[in-house]
Amino acid sequence: MSELWVDKYQPQEIGALVGQSQAVREILNWAESWRKGRPSKPALLLYGPAGTGKTAAAQALARQMGWDLVEMNASDKRSFDVIKNVAGTAAAAGTIFSGTTGKRLVVLDEVDNVYGVQDRGGYRAIEELIEDPRNPVVLIANDQYEIPWQIRASCLMINFRRVQQDAIVGVLQKICRAEKIEAEPMALKVIAETSNGDLRSAINDMQALAEGKKRLAMKDVVLYKRDRESNIFDVLSQLVRAATAKQARELLWSLDMPPEDVLAWIDENLPKVLVDPADLAEAYEAIARADIFLGRTKRRQAYGMWRYASDMMTAGVAMSRKGELKYVRFQLPSTIMKMSRTRAARATRDSVAKKIAERCHTSSHVARKDFLPYLGVIFRYDKKTAQQIALELDFSEAEVNYLAKR
């Protein structure tokens, strides 16, 4: 691959940014106000999903304003030292960088994931940086709620939205013309759709598919879609926000995970994100239906049933949501952790049940349900009988303790 198309076709001026006209206006106003001195909000916080143009906007802005650009990644230790440095030396007169205005635009990426966040030192360094009267600062983040309010309070908040499909198709067409590639309109549409508003990934995808070719056909794209992986966290977060059944349904295409596992993830996290009990009940009914279809798939080896399971766990869940969402960190399905944490206790329980089942002509399930609770009472109240039973059924010390503590 020669040059990345995302770099090659990056907007040179901030006005050329696609699909973010509102954001662009606000950024320009803010930049203009720096000419008159320090504005009341000395920093910008650009937030929104990946690939919507936040970094490109910051870079184009520096170019357009004639500011020097200092780019750092807040999540890495090296940058963190630089932040402190930049903040520390800012009071010194002049600038080591060239440029007539003498200003540097400090761009800090991944501010929702700051290095040194445990001791909060990371955020203190950023606050110092913002307080520096000389330097305009741009913070970039995906999730604004991960950033402390003290920092948000000194920022002008600017929201970057997912880029509309038509706008993405427009950009792709322009690139195709420049690269002399003849593309089927449907192919571009599918790429745009798959990207889910992420312009960068759409351009990257198209480059991977079409570079060096003269034609880009629909069939190339369909195959490619299945290969592209995304992670479960992205899928969950997009799932509860999906606006159409189609959008929700297509999320699974790019996920390489068995449907049972996907369902477990959705199950675990639903009550954490959904606020309205009506939404929760409806969404749960949808995944309960998905579960039924999965069961049918398995029992009858009818793999065609899988598609209905997927429908219900994606579109079914997405369309259940009418009310608000809570912002949360998605969590690993708890059953897995709980199973490993309680392994020892369950093993003891099951060995007790097995011994009872063998001596009392019944199944371990019945032993667990109809004997263990009552044996528990006996073991708590009547040590003598307990001892005799333990002797007769050959209970180990661990098993006796288990019963006595039930």
Binding site: D267, Y284, S334, R359, I389
Partner: protein, 326 residues
């Protein structure tokens, strides 16, 4: 299967040793007695609720047919504990290969909870039954005969065990109290019967636990025992859900499934019992019972217990929310 009965556990200690000692199943018993007397036994299918005497009847038949060495000539299997039809087949094969010890020309294979087998497994079972029909008689036990495939039903004599009525339960409980020299108050008998819902095994377990607390068993000791044995988890779970604390309700559910090893059906049964006592409008109770029935059906079809029960809890949460806002 062990060759010694547990005598410290009353369920075993007082399990009837002769068919004629079985209470509450007179018609079944007299027909079975007939087979035993003629020493000719067809394949049998026992259908009936838990604790109604199916296993006891099978053991009595073996005792009476085979005499002193009866233990060697009956193979007890439990479909829910064996790992699939292949293990069952192997065990039956190994067992039926050797000659019976008694002078009766066949052995007995008792397969409990045979409705836990899928219909594919039941078909395999049918072939096994045919293969060893000269050397083994099968007694299959299940809760509902309708869950057993037709070809097996048609090869068996079917016996329906009734849910035990109060009178028969009382007879048995008093028999045990006399033998153990307990004072058993009439109220206590009623309480035990009420709580065990026709399940003799459960009734005897309650009695034994109550007797360890106090030798004079009265109504209060029965309720105390069952309160401490039967946890309040299910009710607390439902109340949390109704109060809008869905995640609390859910962690209770998961703990019951994982820590206590209860099945989804066990929990549903308790949910069903609790509904009538909840402080919710009467018509709502009916809707909920319907919902519980639907979930129960889904579980019998093999759905995931956790997800289905969570969906039910989400429904409770929604109802609770509506009650608060209107």
């Amino acid at each position: 299967m062990s060759l010694v009965e547990a005598e410290e556990i009353w369920v075993e200690k007082y399990r009837p040793k002769k068919l004629s000692d079985i209470v509450g199943q007179d018609e079944v018993v007299s027909r079975l007695q007939n087979f035993v007397d003629k020493k000719s036994l067809p394949h049998l299918l026992f259908a009936g609720p838990p604790g109604s005497g199916k296993t006891t009847a099978a053991l009595c038949i073996a005792r009476e047919l085979f005499g002193g060495e009866w233990r060697h000539d009956i193979l007890e299997l439990n479909a829910s504990d064996e790992r699939g039809i292949d293990t069952i087949r192997t065990k039956v094969k190994d067992y039926a290969r050797t000659r019976p010890i008694s002078d009766v020309p066949y052995k007995i294979v008792y397969l409990d909870e045979s409705d836990a087998l899928t219909s594919d497994a039941q078909n395999a079972l049918r072939r096994t039954m045919e293969m060893y029909t000269n050397t083994a008689r099968f007694i299959l036990a299940c809760n509902y005969s309708s869950r057993i495939i037709e070809p097996i039903q048609s090869r068996c004599s079917i016996f329906r065990f009734r849910r035990l009525v109060d009178k028969d339960m009382a007879t048995m409980l008093k028999r045990i109290a006399r033998a153990e020299k307990l004072t058993l108050e009439e109220d206590a008998v009623k309480a035990i019967i009420y709580m065990s819902e026709g399940d003799m095994r459960r009734a005897i377990n309650v009695l034994q636990a109550a007797a360890t607390v106090k030798r004079k068993v009265d109504m209060k000791s029965v309720y105390d025992v069952s309160a401490s044995a039967r946890s309040e988890d299910v009710r607390e779970m439902l109340e949390a859900a109704l109060a809008g604390k869905f995640e609390d309700a859910r962690s209770k559910l998961i703990s019951m499934l994982i820590d206590q090893g209860l099945s989804g059906e066990d929990i549903l049964q308790q949910v069903h019992r609790e509904i009538l006592g909840l402080e919710i409008p009467e018509p709502t109770k009916v809707k909920l019972m319907d919902k519980v029935g639907e979930v129960d059906f889904r579980l019998t079809e093999g759905a995931n217990e956790r997800i289905q029960l969570e969906a039910l809890l989400a429904h409770f949460s929604l109802l609770g929310d509506r009650m608060r806002t209107t």
